[in-house]
Symmetry: C2
Amino acid sequence: MTVATMEKAYRELTERWRERALLDSCATVLAWDEETYLPRGGVEGRADQQALLARLEHERAADPRVGDLLAQAEAAGSSDELVVTNLRLMRREYDEACRVPATLVEELARITTRAQGAWERARDANATTGYLPLLGRVVELTQAWTDCVRDGRSRYDACLDSWETDLTDAEVVGVLDQMRPSLVALLDQAPAPGAAADDAVLRRPVPLDAQRAISELALRWLGFDLDRGRLDNATHPSTMRIGPGDVRLTTRFTLDRPFEGLLSTMHELGHGLYDQNLADDQFGTPAGEASSLALHESQSRLVENLVGRSHEFWRFALPQLRAVTAAFDDVSVDQIYRALNQVGRSTSRIRADEISYDLHIAIRVELERALIAGDLAVGDLPAAWDDAYARDLIRPDDATTGVLQDGHWAAGMFGYFPTYTLGNVIAAQLYLAADAALPDLAGSIARGELAPLIGWMRDAVHRHGSRYPAREVVVRATGAPPTPTAQLARLAAKYADRARG
Amino acid sequence: MTVATMEKAYRELTERWRERALLDSCATVLAWDEETYLPRGGVEGRADQQALLARLEHERAADPRVGDLLAQAEAAGSSDELVVTNLRLMRREYDEACRVPATLVEELARITTRAQGAWERARDANATTGYLPLLGRVVELTQAWTDCVRDGRSRYDACLDSWETDLTDAEVVGVLDQMRPSLVALLDQAPAPGAAADDAVLRRPVPLDAQRAISELALRWLGFDLDRGRLDNATHPSTMRIGPGDVRLTTRFTLDRPFEGLLSTMHELGHGLYDQNLADDQFGTPAGEASSLALHESQSRLVENLVGRSHEFWRFALPQLRAVTAAFDDVSVDQIYRALNQVGRSTSRIRADEISYDLHIAIRVELERALIAGDLAVGDLPAAWDDAYARDLIRPDDATTGVLQDGHWAAGMFGYFPTYTLGNVIAAQLYLAADAALPDLAGSIARGELAPLIGWMRDAVHRHGSRYPAREVVVRATGAPPTPTAQLARLAAKYADRARG
């Protein structure tokens, strides 16, 4: 095997991967459109489009020619670390694709698109009726998919691994078990929620135009490039990278929840900055993509919570806000800081405080593991949800504030939720390292200078893409693998501060 | 050849056509996104996406298996008229696709996407500099494409035929030559434009929210189903049918041009109603699509002009408008009618009155024919444009009001403009037939009852898709093939009326 053969094989592999990435980016435009502008009558056609694109992607992923090329390239070997990484990741994708029939991939894309449409309608109707049968079908198809790829592992392990490479049920349970006692203790110590003065300030109405202007300020503070991206309104905030020059955030503005809109923008901004900082010229190669959702989520939780819910950020942001709206002219930084860090047991994950958030995740992990294992029937899910919430947090009043609050399962994203908790854990650890490395981090945030922090994250995390496993990125950046220690210490300190404040 | 073989071949052909239509519908979502929300930095990636989808469509169109299936089905024959039509249209598409190399199709999709981005930037800069080289490349690729398919015909004939089946240069010239003397005479008789009182009423500012509300009223009056479509704001109004349940209109709202926004919506509404009235279950089959752009344009021009610029429509619409905005409380129906039908020589096609409109088209036909024939270099186009306008209408002041006003050529749509004139011609002829068939058409319009007119168009035009050639649809609906007689008579009568009014 000559070097030339190797190079030729690797080049063809890269071209094939880029073509598949391009097809996938078409599917991402369609998915973004589903979240933002697709008319109700278009859902069926969209499901057919997504099914077709998924099949075409899968045909490319499992093409025997890829197997030949991989064998050639692997036999020749390479001294280039990036090539070695790409070949390893390509091999992983190819082997997995070969185990899954195209019909299953196609049907999963079709049914998850339909199920997401049904979920939207179920939320509008506050009733699970039309949605549960489709969710049941998504669970069955996901189970069938895990049975193709799991190779002796549990079904849930296969799900976890598909979102976060090598993540296992044991690790997830370990992290949650380690965190739970501290979180519950912090939650029990917290003052009773609803100290009315605290909450009311968050519910002052701000016209949607002004809310949008405030979110656009946040984009500017954090350095998101609007020539290479967008911010739209959607029911369910998300971030989608269509390509190097096109990263799209969605957020949700509600008249009397202005801070929710801003923090939702800041959450997606964390994702969006990561996506904009990936190496453009590596688009479509495995190493050029952001593969670790835990790392991705660490960036969104960092911007939302470690920046967006910090006292120093609001020292800078409140005067800026006052230039856009008069709604907070009589409010102090302390009041906003206290209101935004109000703690309590609630029914809503996305509105949860930093302490209870991971308890919401633990409920989802418990239920999705049971669904995928076949231990919980989809028909019994709404009651199981309500019971778990009653046990750990608070019983929901209805379906919309209960089992219908998240669309992840409709989208087939079983095993995705744990990456939120890992994201919280990693965010705290990265922030600690950035704080040690950067002079006066808190001071720069209070002056509205976010570039040093984001620049540090870019160098430590974003620019690597998938060149290293997530764990290695964290070790390189912080000197240690991810553990909940930093996050638990941070929360304890923050809420001790707050108790004094 | 048995009936069963025939049915099997036909079924596979239909499935293959539907798959290609689905790919094409993905490209349409991307094209809609380009018109509405694509960030500037996403243009290059979008060009790659469109090139890939175009290649995949072409691979399907020119697949030898299609040739085999067509031969089988044709040999067997069919007594089903719809099957015969579909086979005839499939044969046409297949034979043409086989003549064009995939690389050319791919490159055309890539370069036209880039050229449209460059055209947008050129308009912003009011300078043709960065745009002309890309337009030159579009012309070259279009010429290469015509050379693949023209088979002894002129290049321009091949262009025309690609937008309007069997349309020829001779027919276009014949229609324009027949219309020109009457149009010029009407134009010369018209009172000098800029009777200031007339125009000023059209320029009263109306907030964009109110303009959007007015356009949404128009959607309701005309029966456009927003559960199966959308209306968005865009620089360049257009209509795109993504699928049976998803027809998207774009319009353009400008603060001090409220009637332009409404009439632009009404124009696209004419297209949109046609698209929503096509038979859903025939989506993806050739006979199920609207193939005649002249027929399509007849519907948009009908709703925009024969309804939207009529006295009876404004008798109904003005009171409705007053419920949304106070801007026209002191204005009479007569004033609006006169202002909307103001005649004059101008530089702008989309703002042109009904008389001069086709003279704008004639200039484009003259120039695009010369470009495609190779008789006019792209570098000389801006000067040639200005000279033609100076000769026939009025010399433009700058590039934006001159050669940059239309994006059709950037999109590779050479030979498309004549369908606007044919649309005007057919609209007048169809309206006359509808008026004869329906009791008191003018009266129902004055009462805001548009359903009878649109229902008549649905039965006479929309529902047929491509089952019959455009000419045959017109003959069936009006008793005669398309001629400019009705349109010229209509304009003469309308402007005689107006002179008296």
